[in-house]
């Protein structure tokens, strides 16, 4: 019977004891995706993630637009981490076109991408909080996020979709007095997020719900090819800002947080520690940044690659390594553009982690993967 089905479809046997439950795609707890779980009583025996509800064909669209007009739509998969989403693409195009970026632009990029990382993590933390029933943790990050959004608005003019990075630098220079304002806001932001520990991370209810649930061992984290906070929560110290520094990360002191436990608690704490580290990086970058100078190399209209080439660039985004594989055939459009995103890579861990877990633990495990469905679907 199975042989007659078109590929992609399968017939499943129905068990008397096992119940199949569709979580999503309308269920708010699943994000824009469906998680098909099979439960035996209260325990999950199998889980099959079904993404694709927000697949927008970014990769196909990119083949029809030139290197500059690709900028605004490529940040759409993660609008609240838009600088990091564009970063590997911009680095890749620069390598293809052979552009050297001015020093000040590199620092501006680092500041923007660290601000964006915090903005993304605050958004994620708000969702994580509300799905664990902690509504204070929804309100606080959603409010404090505004501090950094205001900064990004000052830099780029847009609150979330900045489209600020362009091949050759950044779109505009920083506004006057930005360093002062930024330092003040970031200092306050840092003081503010430290308070989260008392209300959330040291909260015995959160600890009891997340500790020792969904444990991912170090070996499995490596085998499954996870990335970002999921990988670092399992004791693998791998952060591209340290391992393969791009732009000026080499000159900055980056201490990426690592935890050994590999449970939901560790996975939820790493992004918070990441934010503290981001504040630290922003302050260093503000200090070391050249006070003046060009921030953008002027490109010719419709830039083309030098010929037949392929390039793979990756950066550390809020959700881990974000890679961009660009194949150029010397035309104004990329011949093929592939985004390898952290969310998609971490999704493979979900069936693995949920097996044997209680259904009630599903939100804490699922959201601890730092997963963003729109990015995974592209």
């Amino acid at each position: 019977m199975t042989a007659e089905l078109p590929p992609g479809l399968a017939i499943q046997k129905v068990d008397e004891r096992i119940m199949t439950l569709n979580v999503g795609p309308q269920h708010p707890g699943s994000g824009h995706m469906r998680i098909i779980v099979q439960i035996d009583g209260d325990y999950i025996v199998a889980c099959d993630p079904d993404p694709g509800y927000v697949h927008r064909g970014e990769e196909k669209m990119a083949e029809y637009r030139n290197y500059i007009t690709n900028i605004p739509h490529l940040e759409r998969p993660v609008i609240h981490d838009s600088c990091n989403a564009l970063y590997p693409y911009v680095l890749g195009v620069e390598e293809l076109l052979g552009i050297e970026v001015p020093e000040r632009a590199k620092y501006v990029r680092v500041i923007c991408s660290e601000l964006n990382r915090c903005i993304y993590i605050m958004y994620w933390l708000a969702i994580y909080g509300i799905f664990l029933g902690h509504s204070t943790m929804f309100m606080w990050p959603a409010g404090d996020r505004e501090l950094l959004i205001d900064l990004m608005e000052k830099i780029s003019g847009a609150r979330v979709t900045h489209a600020h990075f362009v091949p050759g630098g950044v779109r505009n220079d920083l506004p006057p007095n930005f360093e002062e304002v930024c330092l003040r806001q970031v200092n306050y932001f840092e003081k503010r997020i430290r308070e989260y520990a008392a209300v959330f991370y040291d909260n015995p209810i959160l600890i009891s719900r997340t500790q020792d649930t969904g444990v991912l061992s170090r070996e499995d984290a490596i085998r499954l090819g996870t990335t970002g906070s999921v990988l670092r929560a399992s004791g693998v110290s791998y952060d591209l800002r340290q391992k393969e520094p791009y732009d000026v990360y080499e000159e900055l002191d980056v201490h990426s947080p690592v935890m050994k436990e590999g449970d939901s608690y560790a996975r939820s704490k790493i992004p918070w520690l990441d934010m503290l580290e981001s504040c630290n990086i922003i302050k260093q970058a503000l200090q070391k940044m050249p006070k003046s100078g060009s921030v953008r190399v002027k490109l010719k209209p419709n830039p083309k690659g030098k010929g037949l080439d392929s390039v793979y660039k990756r950066v550390e985004s809020g959700r881990g390594s974000l890679g961009c594989h660009i194949v150029s055939d010397g035309k104004v459009e990329p011949y093929r553009l592939k985004l390898s995103v952290g969310s998609f890579r971490n999704l493979i861990a979900l069936p693995y982690l949920l097996k044997g877990e209680k259904l009630g633990n599903m939100p804490s495990v699922y959201w601890s993967l730092n997963y963003w469905p729109v990015e995974a679907d592209r």
Binding site: P6, P7, G8, L9, A10, P51, G52, H55, G57, E59, K60, M61, Y64, I222, R223, L224, G225, T227, L231, V236, Y238, K243, E244, G307, L308, D309, S310, Y312, R314, S321, G323, H325, V327, S328, D329, G330, K331, Y335, R336, K338, S340, F344, R345, L347, I348, D377, R378
Partner: protein, 199 residues
């Protein structure tokens, strides 16, 4: 594979040179071997030493080594990359469609977490599958051996390449669709002959 290699030289001069982006940089390292980064060169040398002319070194540049293999050999080469060279996970699997060559290239970007000397490195392993003009995904000749038994992390990536390009991975335990709707009945959408309306 022999049938592909025979058709390729005939097809290449007729097609625009622009059709084969990835293959060309091989000429560069050969022209100026002195400038090749040493560590990356040592990795590619190890693979060449093991497999000889079964593989082709596509490029050796900073932090990236590009290897091209026949689809019959990819399983052995991948196994050596994991066991002999300590690479342990796949970051990205991208398909690239070359209608002029009647081939679809599948590019694996393989990295390593456990070996700190390889942290910066990515091994770019490329292979090509035969391309059908009228694809029937899963039932035509567009097939490649899966690497899922070697690198577990390719599971979802290969599923994506299957639905987007119609490249069936033989031996993959789960070749269902991932992102596309179950009732998608058109061409695999990332093939070049699938056109966006209005463009």
């Amino acid at each position: 594979m022999s049938s592909d290699t025979e058709t390729k030289p005939a097809a290449k001069p007729a097609a625009k040179p622009a059709a084969k982006p990835a293959a060309k940089p091989a000429a560069k390292p050969a022209a100026k071997p002195a400038e090749l980064p040493a560590f990356e060169k040592s990795i590619s040398d190890k693979i060449v030493e093991k497999f000889g002319d079964k593989i082709e070194v596509e490029f050796v540049k900073e932090n990236r080594v590009g290897i091209k293999v026949n689809r019959d050999d990819i399983h052995d080469v991948a196994e050596f990359i994991r066991d002999g060279l300590n690479y342990d996970h796949v970051e990205s699997v991208s398909g690239v469609d070359y209608p002029q060559d009647k081939e679809i290239e599948v590019v694996y970007h393989i990295g390593s977490y456990s070996d700190s000397s390889l942290a910066k490195q990515l091994l770019v392993l490329a292979t090509r599958a035969q391309r059908e003009e009228n694809p029937i995904p899963g039932k035509d000749a567009t097939k490649l051996p899966t690497l899922r038994d070697i690198f577990y992390s390719v599971e979802f990536h290969e599923r994506e390449v299957f639905e987007m390009f119609g490249v069936y991975f033989t031996g993959h335990p789960d070749n269902r669709r991932l992102l596309l709707p179950e009732d998608w009945a058109d061409l695999p959408p990332l093939r070049k002959d699938f056109a966006i309306k209005g463009r």
